[in-house]
């Protein structure tokens, strides 16, 4: 057995075993569970900011599960109300939906109204009493006379109410409710919420609408395909009873499904395009193109290694890691190029000898890049950490696979094509161009001061204009508009949340006295209000008699109000502190449709939602335990924080790379070597500043990678320069393949992937130009 044969056998066995283990590992994984398309998985699970945890819960548990439907007949007019109810009933029966109701169906609202009426003394009386006490105090009344005043005031209010348009609607309730608890709450809610005439487009009242809540998270697969199938079934069933009825819908899951499809599509074509571009570049520059296929196994093994490591290191990996991870192709092929394209220094040079000769630049470039990506592991952002593992592990695998794989070849040398006019520029011209490049760089530098950051989490998604337009149309038919602010008041329990809501209401009243707002605070008293009402019921025993007298004096038939007096007496006898929690629970059970979003009992958090029109610009103070529940703003705030964190990491990484170069090559040569990555990075960002392109986190990630790549080229080229050789063709090939693969990413429809692609591609090209213009010529050792 010859040494070559033994080496080939051992190498093939090693690589084969590694490949089998890797494929076996991936095969045993449930990739559907392992790979996430959920945008929330891009954010840390244990985010320190409390609002982030709430946003996560909210996003998956409440509003995000809502789907809106509009039904039209064959002529495009609103479908019959019966169609909406039949459609809602069909959806509600399907396990994919937790709830569905036609919005013109009064039954749920009437059920809620009956619940409120039945528990009016627990839920509504305390607040009414508090307001009357405040009015009495404002008049300077003596506390001892309060109940007598209250009786007279109640009779007068009832008299006034009978002259109002609402009187007819409530006339059957009034014998049970002369305190006007029910009209009062209806009036407050209506006044706060019902839009004034101009905000009430006729189309809204005319639309046939269905509101539904799906059972699973809209960002999961269970919240998408099964839901869409259920909608199709319900629509088909509807068509049998109501021919020609069309159903339009919108929901977060529609956006998520579109994004998922587009990302999966991009994953396929970007990788294919990237690979094709890399191979095309290789074929142009390589003499025996079929032998270039030897470059593929190390790249495939590197990619396999990256998949294995990242899936082993993280319980869930976001699909964007694999999209962005396409860049590994361009980086991983570098080592193959460098090793495979180095001509033997003498005929019959052994492979081991060649490896030892090239070990220093190979190892230093690989481990500097890996060290750079290892720094990403310190990021708070899961996506960055996953990328760090994916690329770092992939590069180590690439170097290992390259070294082993080429040991199995009989002739591990790939000869470059010799172009007839390889040096079509004279040395003087190159020097002049280099100086021009430096001048351009100096001009670009002040642009760094003009850099604008745009931290918009929506850039992670692929824009879907058609879905966005349909969403806006349907939401307008549901009366949604941008003028409302959603506040979320949270605590561990609902009681505590209600106390916090009272503090928030007080703040809101001071900050924006004219703001119209709505929350269940209108119908749920605080524990203090409830306790005060209990005291009144037990101690002010004269009040019922006083009220009878006042009603009689105001021309009422006091006997007609017997239902009220009986209920009042019962409440005075039986009311207890625990009634409040029971009443709130009963009320919550009756909330359906959009109303059900107003309160959440937890765990882990309980909250009340407040809708406010004309909200103040200032954020609620911390004591109110209230945050604006605008998910987008919260995510963007977090995104900005991580961008700042990534900027710090990038600058530190750059400093580490620079320090390593200065230590290895000394200050003078180190400066020249470090000028390539550092100059390309700063120059490109300066250019972005001048042209006004807003930058985001992914430009920084691109720069991070670009620095690592150009640093490699710089070291490889400097090594050649020391030997008075021209920059190695492998650097040119490597840079062009990297530019090709990242250039492919810049075609992505995902803004952040585009940002990453263009940053790396431009940096690499800038570095290649600088190297080609004999930047390292002064390093040449004296002959």
């Amino acid at each position: 057995m010859t040494p070559l044969y033994r080496r080939r056998l051992a190498g093939s066995a090693l690589l084969g075993i590694c490949a089998l283990l890797g494929v076996g590992w991936l095969a045993h994984l449930d990739l559907r569970q392992k790979i996430s398309t959920d945008i929330l998985d891009l954010l840390p699970a244990k985010e320190q900011a409390p609002e982030m945890a709430m946003v996560r819960v909210l996003a998956s548990e409440a509003e995000a599960r809502v789907m809106l439907f509009v039904l039209t007949d064959a002529a495009g007019r609103p479908a019959a109300a019966g169609a909406a109810r039949a459609f809602a009933a069909d959806l509600a029966r399907d396990p994919a939906f937790a709830q569905a109701l036609a919005l013109d169906d009064p039954a749920p609202r009437e059920a809620l109204g009956r619940e409120l009426f039945d528990r009016r003394f627990t839920l509504l009386f305390p607040r009414w009493l508090g307001e009357r006490e405040a009015a009495f105090k404002a008049r300077g009344g003596v506390p001892a006379h309060f109940s007598a005043w209250l009786a007279t005031d109640t009779a007068a209010a009832l008299t006034r109410f009978l002259a109002s348009p609402q009187a007819f609607a409530f006339e059957d309730l009034l014998p049970s409710d002369p305190l006007l608890l029910m009209p009062g709450v209806a009036d407050r809610l209506k006044g706060a919420l019902t839009p004034a005439e101009p905000a009430e487009p006729p189309a809204r009242a005319e639309a046939t609408r269905v509101w539904a809540r799906i059972a699973a998270s809209p960002l999961s697969e269970e919240g998408q395909d099964p839901v869409f199938a259920a909608i199709r079934r319900a629509a088909a069933s509807l068509g049998a009873s109501y021919p020609g009825v069309a159903v339009a819908d919108t929901g977060v899951n529609r956006f998520a499904a579109a994004s998922r499809t587009r990302i999966q599509h991009e994953l396929t074509w970007l990788n294919a395009l990237s690979l094709a571009a890399v191979i095309a570049v290789a074929l142009i520059f390589i003499r025996s193109p079929w032998r270039a296929l030897h470059l593929a196994p190390p790249v495939l093994l590197a990619t396999l290694g990256a998949w294995v490591c990242v899936t082993a290191a993280f319980s869930r990996v976001h699909i964007l890691v694999f999209v962005i991870g396409a860049m590994l192709t361009g980086v991983a092929i570098d080592y193959g190029f460098y090793l495979y394209m180095q001509a033997p220094v003498r005929p019959g040079e052994e492979y081991g000898e060649k490896v030892r000769r090239l070990a220093k630049p190979l190892l230093s470039s690989c481990f500097t890049t890996v060290a750079g990506f290892a720094l990403l592991l310190y990021s708070d952002l899961p996506l960055i950490r996953q990328l760090g593992v994916f690329v770092g592990a992939g590069l180590v695998c690439a170097l290992g696979a390259t070294l082993v794989y080429f040991s199995t070849l009989r002739n591990p040398f790939l000869e470059a094509r010799a172009f007839r006019r390889a040096r079509f520029l004279s040395s003087g011209s190159r020097r002049a161009l280099r100086r021009a490049l430096i001048a351009l760089w100096l001009i670009a530098l002040p642009g760094l001061l003009l850099i604008r950051w745009k931290d918009d989490v929506r850039e992670l998604e692929i824009p879907s204009p058609a879905i966005q337009s349909e969403d806006a149309r349907i939401r307008a038919l549901f009366g949604e508009h941008d003028g409302q602010t959603v506040y979320l008041t949270h605590a561990t329990t609902l009681r505590e949340a209600r106390e916090a809501l009272a503090r928030f209401e007080a703040w809101l009243l001071g900050a924006a006295p004219k703001a119209r707002s709505l929350s269940l605070g209108e119908v749920v008293p605080t524990a203090g209000e409830h306790a005060r009402a209990l005291r009144f019921l037990r101690t002010e025993t004269a009040f019922p008699l006083q009220l009878r007298a006042a009603l009689t004096a105001a021309d009422f038939d006091a006997g007609s109000f017997a239902p009220f007096f009986e209920a009042y007496a019962r409440q005075a006898r039986q009311a207890a502190d625990a009634d409040l929690d029971q009443a709130v629970a009963a009320l919550q059970a009756r909330l359906s449709g959009p109303l059900s979003l107003l309160v959440h009992a937890g765990p882990p958090l309980a909250w009340y939602i407040t809708l406010t029109g004309d909200a103040p610009a200032a954020a609620p103070p911390p004591g109110t335990q209230t945050v604006t529940a605008g998910q987008l703003q919260s995510l963007n705030r977090i995104f900005a924080r991580y961008r700042q964190s990534a900027l710090w990491l990038s600058l530190t990484g750059l400093a580490i790379v620079g320090a390593g170069v200065f230590l290895t090559y000394g200050f003078r040569d180190g400066l020249r070597i470090f000028a390539i990555p550092c100059g390309a990075c700063l120059g490109l960002f300066g250019l972005f500043g001048w042209i006004g392109e807003p930058l985001n986190l992914f430009h920084l990630l691109g720069a991070f990678l670009g620095v690592c790549l150009t640093h490699n080229y710089s070291i490889f080229s400097a090594t050649s320069a020391y030997r008075r050789e021209r920059p190695p063709v492998s650097v040119r090939l490597s840079a062009l393949t990297a530019a090709a693969s990242f250039g492919a990413l810049s075609f992505s429809g995902i803004p952040v992937v585009h940002a990453l692609g263009e940053t790396v591609a431009l940096m690499v090209l800038a570095a290649l130009l600088t190297i080609e213009f004999e930047h390292f010529a002064p390093l040449a050792e004296p002959s």
């Binding site: 919005l103 013109d104 009437e110 009978l162 809708l611």
Partner: protein, 217 residues
Amino acid sequence: MRRLAPLLALALFAPPGASRAADPLIAPVHQVAPDQAPWRELATALRARGAVTAAFTENRWFPFRKAPTVLHGEVRISAGRGLSLHYFGPPERTVIIDERGLLVRSAEGDIVPPADPRTAAANFALLHVLRLDLPPLAAAFDIYGLSAGSAWRLALVPRGEAMRRSLGRIELEGDGGAVRRIELRRSASQRVEILVAPALPAAAFTGDELRRFFRAP
């Protein structure tokens, strides 16, 4: 979340049954076809008066109050813009009923009550009956009528039991092309009577009147 707003006005009210007082008008012999004389001619006469403004007095009887609640105001009837009841107050307010439903206008702004089938039915009936536009009402109401000379009397009784309970019956009295009295009657002790004074002479509403007392088109 923002879609909650229009839904929170609570339609809570399921009124109990109302008795129908015996009335000689409510008899099969007086049942009228919607397009028969003299109602067709009366409707034509009403429609010919494109804009009507008249003072009114509204008496509201409630079963738990000994005397009626009395309100005063101006009624405006527009062939194209519907019915407007302007109450002098206090507080001053205008109730507008038109093809788009009910709107209450006051110093605090315009309020559109929540969609409710019963309210919608009442508005629909009132809107058409004031124009004596009877054919659209014939599907949901039994229509009874009597006329003697220029005086006439009309009663609409809902066919559905639920509507009869919640709405009661609607009665109108008039003289020629003028409506003199409107009554929404659930029982003798539970009714609203609107007495309309002779109309003020006016050929059409001014722009200011249309803006103040009707809904924008």
